[in-house]
Symmetry: C2
Subunit: 233 residues, 2 copies
DNA sequence: GTGCCTAATATTGTATACAATTGAAAGTCG
DNA sequence: CGACTTTCAATTGTATACAATATTAGGCAC
C-alpha cells in the first residue's frame, strides 16, 4: 500500500488508477504544466467513461496538481511564484517538526530503509538520460516521504505527499540546475545526524536543504514567458 | 470568499454547495459520526442528481470528514482514537510555526478581526441552548482559522481547515466537558501575547491550549467501561 | 483588411439508465 | 429451532444521453 492509499479512502477503483497515473506523469514531468487534460481524451486513453475521469481529475485538483476551471476543463497546474513560495514556506514549517516526530519512532529498520533509498538515489544520479533524471527527482522526494512515514502519522503523511508532489511541479517549472547531487549529499547528512541521535542538527540541515532547493529556483517574474504559455493553451 | 473556497479550485457549483452544507452539518454536530449519507437521500434533499452528490462526497472524503467504503457508500467519519491523536499531534506540529508566520504578517486590522471573533465567541459562551453550543464550537475553530488566514499562505490555510474540521468531529465524539470557557480564555491570552509582540509566549500558550483541548477528551477505549459508568450513575 | 456580430462546434455540467455488488429476507434442510 | 442457502431488494459503480457554456470559424459591415 502506497503512502497515498494509506491515507485516502479510495472512492472507486478505476479513478484511483487514473489518478495515480496522471499524478506520476505530472511529478515525473512527462506532463508539462498547463497541459489540458480533456475528459474525453483521458477517458479514451484509459478506456473508461468521462464519469471516472472526472472523479480522478477532481481528486488531483484537490491535491493542487491540477487546476479545474468551470466550463473550461482541467489543466496540469501551473504554480505561480507566490504558490511556489508558499509550498516551500509550508515545508520549512512542517519538516523540522516532522523530523523530531520521526526521531521519536525511529528504529533500526527505518535507518536501513532510508539508506536503501539514498543508495537508489545515488545510483540514479550517476546515470544519464532524461528518464534517469525523472526517476531521480522522484527518488529525491521519496526520501522526504519516507521520513514522514516513520512518524506513523497518516495525516502528516498526506500533507507531505501533497507538498512533495507540488514541489516537483515547481522544480519542473522554475528549476535551473539539476542540483540533485547537492540535494543528495544533504539527504545523507540529515540521515547521518538522525542516526547519531542529533535531532536538532538534522532539523538545521533540513532547513538548509529546503533553502537550497528553493535557492536553485529561478523565481523571478516570468512576465512574458508566463503569459505566452498561458495564452498558448 | 471563505478560506475553503480560497484554496480549492471548485470543480463545479452545485457540488460545492452540498459539500459546504454537509461539512457545516458535520462540524456543528448536527450530523452524528457514523451516519450514512445515501446518495439518493442527499440528492433528493438538495434536488440534484447522484452525480453531483458523489462529487461532494468524494471531496468530503478527501478532507477526512466522510468515509467512503467501496460498494457500501459514504458515512460521516468516525475517527478512531489513533486518528484523534494524530490530528492533535499534527496541530501541535503546525500551529506554533503558523503563529510565528502570522506574526510576521500581523497588522492592526488583523488584531481587530481577532478581537471581534473573540467577542463573538464570548457572546455565544454566555448563551444557552444547543444551537449556541454548536455555534460556539465553530467559533472556537474560527479563531485558529483566522490566524492561519493572516499568514496569507493558502496551503497552510487548507491544512488548517482540514485539521480544525476534523478536530470538531473528534470533540463531538470524545469531548467530555464543554471546556469552551477555558478554551476561550486561552484564545484571549494567545492574542494578547501576539499583540504584545511576544511570539514565543504565544506559541507556548498555543501548545498548552492544544494540550488542554486534547486532555478534555476521553480517549480511553470505549469498550464496556463507558457502559458501566453510565449505568453506575 | 479590420472589427464585430452571429452561428456552428466542441467541451463541460448534469441527469438518467444500466450493470455489479452488497445486505437481508425468505425458504429449506438438518 | 437453528443454521445454511438462495433469492430479491436496495445501493453503489459506470456508461451514456442531454443541456448549458465556452471557443472558434465564418460572414458582414465599415
Amino acid at each position: 500500500m502506497t503512502p497515498a492509499n494509506l491515507a485516502e479512502n479510495a472512492i472507486d477503483t478505476g479513478a484511483q488508477h487514473i489518478r495515480d497515473s496522471i499524478r506520476d506523469a505530472i511529478v515525473e514531468r512527462r506532463l508539462a504544466p498547463g497541459t489540458k487534460l480533456s475528459e474525453n481524451d483521458v477517458g479514451g486513453l484509459f478506456n473508461v467513461s468521462r464519469t471516472v475521469v472526472r472523479a480522478a481529475l477532481q481528486a488531483l485538483s484537490y491535491e493542487g496538481l491540477v487546476t479545474v476551471e468551470k466550463n473550461r476543463g482541467a489543466f496540469v497546474a501551473y504554480p505561480s511564484v507566490a504558490e511556489a513560495q508558499q509550498i516551500f514556506a509550508t515545508r520549512r514549517l512542517i519538516e523540522p517538526g516532522l523530523l523530531r516526530e520521526a526521531a521519536r519512532h525511529l528504529e533500526r529498520r527505518h535507518i536501513k530503509e532510508l539508506r536503501a533509498l539514498l543508495a537508489e538515489e545515488e545510483r540514479l544520479t550517476s546515470e544519464r538520460g532524461p528518464s534517469a533524471r525523472r526517476a531521480e527527482i522522484k527518488a529525491s522526494g521519496d526520501v522526504h516521504l519516507a521520513l514522514a512515514a516513520i512518524t506513523g502519522n497518516a495525516i502528516l503523511q498526506r500533507f507531505m505527499d501533497e507538498l512533495i508532489a507540488r514541489s516537483s511541479l515547481v522544480i519542473a517549472l522554475y528549476g535551473q540546475s539539476v542540483a540533485s547531487s547537492c540535494g543528495h549529499a544533504e539527504h545523507h547528512q540529515i540521515i547521518d545526524a538522525l542516526e547519531n541521535g542529533d535531532v536538532e542538527a538534522a532539523c538545521k540541515l533540513m532547513l538548509q536543504h529546503i533553502d537550497h532547493i528553493e535557492a536553485d529556483l529561478d523565481l523571478r517574474a516570468k512576465k512574458s514567458g508566463d503569459l505566452k504559455d498561458v495564452l498558448r493553451l
